[in-house]
Symmetry: C2
Subunit: 194 residues, 2 copies
C-alpha cells in the first residue's frame, strides 16, 4: 500500500530505524487512534517551528537567550564546550554542572573537510571575559581530542584554566569488556584515593 | 526544552523506541531541514486518513476492495488466513503466493479474553464458496496453532483443503519479522492438516 511505504520510507531515515522497524511503526500508527497520529504529526512540526539555537551558547531553546544563559543562578565563570546541542542536554540531566555552555557545532576533522573556521570558535572567544575555567567536553575520540588540544593552545595566553572531562571506565561497567584505549586512559587518569 | 521532551514522549510510545532513541530522533528532526519535518508529519496524518480496511479481506488499502481482492489475476480458489493486515503485506513481499487473503484480526487467546466471536470468522465463512484451499498462516505460537486447529475443525465438513504454513518459521517467532526467503519456503512446504 503506497501510503504505508511512503511513511515507512521517511521514518527509516530517522536514526536507529531500519526498514523493518519503520514499517512496524507505520502499522502501529495505522492501528492506533487518529488523535495519536495527529498529536505526533503536530509535535514533529512544532519541534522545528518552536525551537531555535540560542544566539549566545548555541543550545536548542524555545526562548533566546536559552534557559541556561538567562538563568541568574548559573556560574558565569565556567563555560563547558560541547560538540553539539544534545551533549549539553545530556550534561544537564546529570545535574552536576552549574555553569554555562558553548556549542561548537562539530569538531575539527580534516578528512571531512571541517576546519576550525567552520566551528563556532569566534563566538567562543567573544565570550571569554570574566571566565575562569573552560571545560572542554568534546567526545573522547581522535577528532574530539584534537579539537580540545587546538582550543587549549588557542587560549593558552589568556590565563583561563582549561580542563577536559575525565575519560575512563563507565560507572557500572565491566573491566572485562572495556576496550584497550579506555583501559589505558583510565590508568593514566587514575586518581589517588588513599 | 519542553518541545523536545513532548515530542520524545510521543515518539517513545512507538514500538521499538525507548526513551533514549526517542530523544535522539527528536534531535535528528531538529537538525534536519524543515521540509523533512513537514513531510514526515504530513505522511503520518495521511497514513491514518487514506488507509482503511478492505471490506472483503480486511487488509489495509487505499481503495475498497483492496488491490489484491480486485486483481482478476489472483487465484480465487485460495484464501490465506492471517492474524493481522501486516502479515499479508509481509507475504506479498515474498512474491510466492497468488491467492486471496483473510485477516482474522487476532487469534483465539482465552487468557486475554479473546474468543472466536471477536475474530472475523463469520466473514471468512461467507467467502468459502468456490474456495478449494484455505492456508492458515497464523503465527507459529500456541495461540496461532490453537486458532488454526479451531478453524480446521470448523470447516472440516466443507471438503475444502486446509493447510498450515510449513515450519521454517522459527517456533515462537513472529511472522512480521520473517525474512522473505523463510517466508517463501514456508509457503512451498506448507503441509495439509485437514
Amino acid at each position: 500500500v503506497r501510503a504505508i511505504d511512503e511513511a515507512a520510507e521517511l521514518l527509516s531515515r530517522l536514526p536507529g530505524l531500519g526498514r523493518k522497524s519503520a514499517v512496524r511503526i507505520a502499522y502501529h500508527i495505522l492501528k492506533s487512534d487518529e488523535s495519536f497520529a495527529r498529536a505526533l504529526a503536530e509535535r514533529i512540526v512544532r519541534l522545528k517551528a518552536s525551537i531555535k539555537a540560542c544566539s549566545v551558547c548555541g543550545c536548542y531553546s524555545e526562548g533566546d537567550p536559552c534557559e541556561v544563559c538567562s538563568d541568574p543562578g548559573r556560574d558565569r565563570g565556567l563555560i563547558c564546550v560541547v560538540e553539539q546541542a544534545q551533549d549539553a542536554a545530556s550534561i544537564e540531566q546529570a545535574k552536576e554542572y552549574a555553569g554555562l555552555y558553548h556549542v561548537l557545532g562539530g569538531v575539527i576533522a580534516p578528512l571531512d573537510g571541517v576546519g576550525p573556521e567552520k566551528l563556532r570558535v569566534r563566538e567562543l572567544l567573544a565570550r571569554l571575559e570574566g571566565v575562569r575555567e573552560l571545560i572542554i567536553a568534546t567526545n573522547p575520540t581522535v577528532e574530539g581530542d584534537t579539537t580540545a588540544l587546538w582550543l587549549q593552545r588557542l587560549i593558552k595566553d589568556t590565563g583561563i584554566v582549561v580542563s577536559r572531562l575525565a575519560s575512563g571506565l563507565p560507572v557500572g561497567g565491566d573491566l572485562e569488556y572495556a576496550d584497550r584505549l579506555t583501559l589505558s586512559r583510565s590508568f593514566r587518569g587514575r586518581t589517588r584515593v588513599g
